[in-house]
Symmetry: C2
Subunit: 142 residues, 2 copies
DNA sequence: TTTCCTGCAAACGATTTGCAGGAAA
DNA sequence: TTTCCTGCAAATCGTTTGCAGGAAA
């Protein structure tokens, strides 16, 4: 593993990768980041993108939104907030965090004697985005 | 794809696979289901498990909890409810659904002119389960 | 110099799929 | 018979990893 507490050295590629993730709202996967940077950094490899994204996750600079269509998607905005995922095209949209003191309250009782501790939560809404909805006129259940 | 609206035929293996998923609270992955049934159904193949699980998902008989440690995990209890996932061992626990009319209310305004429609939501809490917590005394941030 | 970073390509592992034979309708 | 189901094995595909050379400290 790429170390958890060992010293890090400066790397312009690492910087570039983080910058790309932080400066987009597309919630990219590794491949997207790679393709985005490849023109500017011709000797960049996909492995480096993966390695650095894992690093960012360990350091809390990037979070995983989840796996969409087999590909893990990331977010450079690490403040907790829910996401919307289009079931059709996989687009991911940030949603505003609904101040949820009440969620804690509502979960407090059922969680009271739970045999586990909670660190954080992920909420994802699924549906159709504005572009896909018109395309999918019928949503068959069977 | 294994058909969306074509006719289905009866299959005892399919029945067995669904029965296993429905009769456990372990939120199994395909491999687990396969290993569980293999002794009783020696000529079962992993591909069949995958194909049928996909079918169950299309029919709404099984839902995906998400990908944990690279493996997709399923739930035969399809009524909406949140889950807990142990960050250490990957164990998945069902959580009671907090009657959440209020969530709708709280999300209603920010969603008002959203350019998408929502079908359903998934909520997953992450933390350490009762077995792992004692093992992980220090949780390093860096 | 020592340690970390990276390209490269091979390895991995979960899931999918093409095909041919068998079962259900 | 026609259509669906399944075993098998090969193919996919996202992600990881071992290694050797290069860069940072």
């Amino acid at each position: 593993m790429m170390g958890t507490e060992m010293g890090r050295k400066h790397s312009s590629k690492r910087d570039a990768i983080l910058r790309v993730i932080q400066s987009t709202v597309s919630h990219p996967g590794a491949q997207w980041v790679y393709e985005r940077l490849k023109p500017q950094i011709p000797d960049l490899s996909l492995g480096t993108v993966y390695r650095n994204i894992n690093l960012f996750q360990e350091k809390g600079q990037v979070i995983s939104v989840g796996v969409v269509n087999g590909e893990e998607r990331f977010d450079g905005q690490v403040a907790p907030h829910p996401h919307f995922v289009c079931s059709c095209c996989g687009k991911i949209i940030d949603l505003p965090s609904p101040g949820d003191e009440t969620l804690k309250e509502r979960m407090a009782e059922p969680m009271e004697n739970a045999d586990f501790t909670i660190d954080y939560r992920k909420t994802v809404f699924y549906g159709l985005c504005g572009e896909c909805e018109p395309k999918v006129r019928f949503r068959l259940k069977e």
